[in-house]
């Protein structure tokens, strides 16, 4: 019953809001159209754009890596972070996909998710139930109980949303200022400048990218766009279709912090991180980019709108798909990164998802194709 209440509240809060945003800021529709075109350009020639991005990051004084799979990713992050460190993580579904948090913890690091939703997921030790709002399945009442039980916070069922957020704020502020490493994902990566663009509202990503001396951004190669201009567009479009517009913060990170305040000579570091690392992850994406139908799935900008319009997600919630991927986009991504065709089988081709997708991904058609691939492999 708790899921039904939580999803009903989330739908009623979010769905009308997205319609209103698109009506009030109609230029978003043009930006989304342009974004689809430039992303498609990258996906049609992904390997070249990966090379270009890696080079561009190095030019900014950052380190850039390409990893094939989750194991390579974990080893690399483990090498950069080391042991006995405090690590703060901005929300990254790719980091979840790769098992980064649990791996770093197993190495003896103290790791904290700092996005409120992810923080609650970490405390409850449950998989995320929505790509944008990972704790969508938790009601306010359950969250209060969780905070009280796990961290001893002085909160109750009657605590307001504001009171719960305030308690977490106090707790996490200490972690930010003592952290050695900040790990984030990326909403977009610009191939021309090597910049990572992140959109958010909480401020936790800005803190994670600036306060600790080391910043690691880890993301899928599907997030590459040709230019920094395109990357900012992706952030704006994602925020609008996610129902949070204007976004409170858009962060651009191009390498480690620098200053040119002494004789206009640019030196690094200044106040922000002294090290910047970008890790670009394949994990099935390049192979998918070579398939005309699966390539469509890589256009996804993770706004999570398709979830809230899908009759199957409404019933099954986060259990539909392989974590962290759920809902219609998650049924596609479960196949791309885990080669699991089962979630696609649950698609009822209601088609709402394709109608509300900012990237105009024909999700039912992609899922039909994954059903086909799944059926074929079951046959053989």
């Amino acid at each position: 019953m708790s899921w039904e209440i939580a999803i009903e509240r989330a739908i009623n809060n979010n769905v009308p809001k997205v319609y209103k945003i698109l009506e009030e800021y109609p230029y978003i529709l043009d930006l989304a159209k342009r974004l689809r075109e430039v992303k498609m350009k990258v996906l049609s020639n992904l390997e070249e754009y990966i090379e270009q991005t890696l080079e561009a990051v190095k030019k900014t004084g950052g380190n850039a890596y390409f990893v094939r799979d989750a194991k390579e990713a974990r080893e690399l992050v483990g090498k950069i972070v080391g042991k006995g460190k405090i690590v703060v993580m901005g929300k990254s579904m790719v980091a979840y996909e790769l098992g980064i948090r649990k791996y770093l913890t197993s190495l003896g690091n103290e790791v904290w998710e700092t996005d409120l939703g992810e923080f609650l997921i970490q405390l409850s030790d449950e998989p995320p139930s929505h790509i944008l709002a990972p704790a969508i399945h938790l009601t306010k009442e359950r969250i209060a109980k969780l905070l009280k039980e796990k961290l001893g916070f002085d909160v109750s069922e009657n605590s307001t949303h504001e009171e719960l957020v305030q308690k977490v704020r106090e707790f996490l502020r200490n972690k930010f200022f003592s952290a050695n490493v900040g790990i984030t994902g990326a909403n977009a990566v610009a191939a021309d400048t090597g910049s990572v663009v992140l959109v958010e509202n909480e401020g936790n990503i800005r803190m994670s990218t600036v306060v600790p001396p080391v910043h690691i951004a880890i993301t899928g190669v599907d997030k590459i766009v040709p230019t920094l201009h395109d990357a900012i567009i992706e952030a704006l479009v994602q925020a609008a279709y996610g129902g949070l517009y204007p976004p409170t913060y858009i962060n651009i990170t191009s390498g480690p912090s620098t200053t040119a305040d002494i004789e206009m000579k640019r030196v690094s570091p200044a106040q922000g991180p002294k090290e910047f690392h970008l890790i670009l992850v394949d994990n099935g994406r390049i192979e998918a980019s070579k398939d005309e139908i699966l390539r469509e799935a890589l256009l996804c900008i993770r706004c999570g709108r398709c979830h809230l319009h899908c009759p199957v997600y409404r019933v099954l919630g986060g259990s539909w798909g392989d974590p962290p991927y759920s809902g219609p986009m998650g049924a596609m991504w479960s196949y791309i990164v885990y080669k699991d065709p089962k979630p696609a089988m649950y698609c009822t081709h209601s088609g709402n998802c394709k109608d509300v997708c900012p990237m105009k991904i024909d999700i039912p058609r992609v899922l039909e194709y994954i059903k086909y691939l799944g059926n074929k492999s079951a046959q053989s």
């Binding site: 769905v15 199957v312 088609g351 109608d355 194709y369 799944g374």
Partner: protein, 286 residues
């Protein structure tokens, strides 16, 4: 393998599961057999009420296959069949009233292959579509009038798989002159395929309006991209999920009206358990 089994049944029985084809053709009296335009039922209205029964057997289908011939003795309940027949007769008379002439293939009418497409058995769908097309060609058929969204969708997609040059049109596009025969206020449960894939949402909405039928809309429940599915398409994959979706949808609809209007026999079959008064569009117009 389900796809293979369905494909074999299509070869043996002309339907995804064994059935007495007279059940499919029983509605038609006096419709000519030969005409280059046909009314095409794909036996969907006639068998929709058997969907639950056969979907429950799917997990055991391979073990049960030696007994499939017994399926010939399984019939829909009389009241279900009578209702389906009266809907098909109503559609036929609406077409005639609008000056459309057509034939019907009776027991020779093939199934469309929709289930193969929807379950992702695309190789089997392609090969079956070719057979259906060749059959239609051999009968000189130039135009097919469909009566349900799943069949319409399957035929509209034939050309993605095979060379297909037969016109496919829904009866909803051909009837212009209609009159409502109900005073009740309805909430429309849209067909996903008509509404979001086949561009027919406004076609039946304008017929409903023209017929003077009172409807109640709510953008969060009956909006083009908020209206949910009835759950039927996933029944063959997960029966329980299908029922949960149906129940959730019925609850939403009944917040607006206790009278629900559908345009698809599968939506009717899946929602009717949870909705008191549910009608097909063809039942409320003349």
């Amino acid at each position: 393998m389900l796809g293979k089994l369905i494909y074999e049944n299509l070869q043996k029985y002309g339907f995804p599961y064994p059935i007495d084809k007279r059940i499919c053709s029983g509605w038609a009296k006096g419709v000519p057999k030969n005409n280059s335009t046909i009314l095409y039922t794909s036996c969907m209205y006639q068998t929709a009420s058997l969907n639950d029964f056969y979907s429950k057997l799917i997990p055991y289908a391979e073990k049960l296959s030696p007994f499939f011939f017994l399926g010939k003795f399984i019939r829909p309940k009389k009241e279900e069949l009578d209702r389906a027949y009266s809907i098909l007769n109503k559609i036929a008379s609406l077409l005639k009233k609008n000056g459309i002439e057509f034939g019907y293939l009776y027991e020779e009418e093939p199934y469309s292959g929709a289930i193969l497409l929807e379950l992702g058995y695309l190789d089997e769908f392609k090969s079956y579509a070719k057979q259906v097309y060749e059959f239609f060609k051999s009968r000189g058929i130039k135009r097919i009038i469909t009566v349900d969204p799943h069949t319409h969708n399957a035929l509209k997609r034939y050309s993605e798989f095979i060379q297909f040059d037969i016109e496919v049109v829904s009866y909803l596009e051909l009837i212009k002159d209609v009159k409502g025969i109900t005073n009740e206020t309805f909430v429309i449960h849209d067909s996903c395929l008509y509404s979001r894939f086949l561009n027919l949402r406004d076609t039946y909405r304008s017929l409903i309006k023209k017929g003077g039928i009172k409807i109640v809309e709510d953008n969060m429940i009956t909006g083009k991209d908020t209206a949910y599915c009835c759950g039927s398409p996933v029944k063959a994959v997960n029966f329980e999920l299908s029922e949960k979706i149906a129940r959730a949808r019925a609850e939403q609809l009944m917040r607006l009206s206790k009278n629900v209007l559908v345009v698809c026999p599968m939506c009717y079959a899946n929602l009717s358990k949870y909705v008191g008064n549910i009608k097909d569009l063809a039942e409320v117009i003349e």
